[in-house]
């Protein structure tokens, strides 16, 4: 079971738009909330009101400063959850079969009551996408909201991951990467979606849309001045009459 499927029917995953993400943590908190109330066991927090609070989260928002050689430093907010890799090392290292990748849709999951909490899958994941629950002592990870996307009780428009539904700036997109016509595939094609750490050979499904170039000139060139530009008030007022006459 921990062997990876050679290929999957669908490749479901997320596109995260770094040009649009404002780093608000909405997706991370709603993920925590959904998976606390709805998962097999809650996503716990240890020392919740103490000096060393820490809990399990399936999605975390990092903030990076990027300094181009020839432009001022810029900030990129960077949400990160499981990328549902095609070659998921977290799955193959798992000794129990708790970790698995589904052949139907490529979602990587942990069967919590099979997990022994050895932590090896977290070691194998380069992206920090797995977290040990401090109270439940089992491995937790993004489920791609598998308990939402197929839930027929939910209205169809809500059969999307909680983080996607909640993101206020619409920086998160969900879909099938195997379908070249899907919204996510098109976004990746149009905007040059990035794969994280390709050198790790994990073949992540999720893609990140890079920040667009900064300080772009406007689509149309700036307008020409409607009057000869002098900073003399008299000259300006002279022009004014003509301009007003044109108004009629």
């Amino acid at each position: 079971m921990t062997s990876l499927p050679a290929s999957t029917d669908k490749r479901l995953g997320l596109v995260i738009d770094l040009d649009t993400c404002v780093g608000c943590h909405a997706c991370a908190v709603n993920c925590k909330e959904w998976n606390t109330g709805a998962g097999a066991s809650p996503l716990s927090d240890a020392d919740a009101y103490g000096a060393d609070v820490s809990g399990a989260w399936l999605n975390r928002i990092h903030t990076f400063e990027v300094t181009p050689a020839d432009a001022p430093a810029q900030i990129v907010h960077f949400p990160k959850s499981c990328l549902h890799c095609d070659d998921a090392p977290c799955v193959t290292v798992c000794p129990t079969g708790a970790s698995h990748k589904r052949s139907e849709d490529g979602i990587v999951l942990v069967t919590e009551d099979m997990c022994i909490g050895c932590g090896l899958c977290a070691w194998a994941c380069p992206y920090g996408a797995r977290e040990m629950d401090p109270v439940e002592n089992v491995m937790k990870k993004c489920t791609l909201c598998v308990d939402r996307i197929y839930d027929e009780v939910l209205p169809e428009e809500d059969r999307i991951p909680a983080c996607v539904r909640t993101c206020p700036s619409n920086a998160r997109h969900f879909g099938d990467f195997n379908d070249p016509g899907s919204h996510v595939s098109r976004l990746v094609a149009d905007r040059g979606g990035i794969e994280l750490m390709p050198e790790m050979g994990t073949k992540p499904v999720n893609r990140y849309l890079p920040p667009r170039p900064k300080a772009r000139a406007p689509a149309a060139g700036p307008v020409a001045a409607t009057r000869p530009q002098t900073a003399k008030a008299d000259g300006f007022l002279g022009w004014l009459d003509a301009a007003l006459d044109k108004l009629g």
Binding site: D52, F64, Q74, I116
Partner: protein
């Protein structure tokens, strides 16, 4: 990586235990009668089992430990469990025959020895397979694990049941193991994360824009990932520990072995280098984890 005490003890002790099993299975000579053989076998098995137990109780759900044997087709950890159990069973049978008949069936011994070799190898592969930890991700890692298992196992076995005084064999094994470790260190010093071509730039995919630096962690406190995988140790601390590992794990044993060899002192004195080496190896193993950089640290401010 976070150096968990249980894992350090597990790898060092069970290494020595399986090293002993390997030697005993191959017919390592034990002086004295069945009593001695029993003690030595018990220690060998005991070390291996103690290590295993330490790692089992380190699990979040030890009660489900048996499940860990199921994925031998893909998981080195699963293979390790199976190999360890098989080896212990074989070795138990071997010891039983030995104790009861005084005979050491070579085939069974050979099988146990092979099992021990495989077990140590599978243990090492748990680490060596991880591309996320470039320090570990090398063929030298199994070599080092095997070297230390053999040499420390040899020292303990010799101390407890050595027929002859510690000979050149010991010197050679210890020296070889540390030579491998030295080579490992040399490689490690050149194989920071960056040799995996990884950097904050590749981790974020933002390298095309410029240099990438963490400004804010997702959370202000620590979390599982930072505690487990973003361990940072002081340089000075690391240097001291490495010196300790080299002195106790290598220099002291070599010196003792040489003295024992030259003076022809009784084998039981090998206990001193054996213990010293194990303490040295605990330091070495602590560093093995503590100095290992995990790719995740790139998301947490490491370069």
């Amino acid at each position: 990586m976070h150096p968990a005490v249980s894992v350090i003890f597990f790898t060092v002790l069970s290494g020595a235990g399986f090293g002993m099993i390997l030697l005993l299975g191959l017919g390592f000579e034990i002086d004295g009668g069945a009593g001695r053989a029993f003690v030595v076998s018990l220690v060998a098995g005991g070390l291996a089992v103690a290590g295993l137990l330490a790692s089992v109780f380190h699990l979040g759900h030890p009660e489900r430990a048996l499940r860990a044997l199921s994925q031998w087709r893909s998981s080195w950890l699963s293979r390790e469990g199976i190999a360890a159990i098989a080896t212990l069973v074989l070795f138990g049978l071997y010891a039983l025959v030995w104790m009861t008949t005084g005979d050491r069936p070579a085939l069974l011994g050979g099988a146990a020895a092979l099992g021990a070799l495989v077990t140590v190898f599978t243990t090492s592969m748990i680490y060596a397979q991880l591309r996320t930890v470039p320090h570990w991700n090398s063929a030298l890692t199994p070599a080092v694990y095997l070297g230390f298992a053999l040499s420390s196992g040899w020292l303990v076995a010799t101390a407890l049941g050595g027929a002859a005084t510690a000979g050149l064999w010991g010197l050679a094994l210890v020296a070889l193991a540390w030579a491998l470790k030295w080579a490992w260190w040399v490689r490690a010093s050149r194989s920071r994360l960056s040799t995996a071509a990884s950097s904050p730039e590749t981790a974020t995919g933002l390298g095309f824009l410029g240099r990438v630096r963490l400004l804010e962690r997702p959370h202000t406190g620590e979390n599982y990932l930072t505690r487990e995988m973003v361990h940072v140790i002081g340089r000075k601390h690391a240097r001291r520990l490495r010196a300790l590992a080299l002195v106790l794990g290598c220099a002291v044993p070599l010196l003792c072995l040489a003295l024992i060899h030259v003076t022809g002192a009784p084998a039981v004195l090998t206990l001193l280098p054996a213990l010293s080496m194990i303490v040295g190896l605990l330091a070495e193993r602590w560093l093995f984890f503590a100095e290992a950089e995990h790719a995740v640290s790139l998301y947490y401010g490491n370069r």
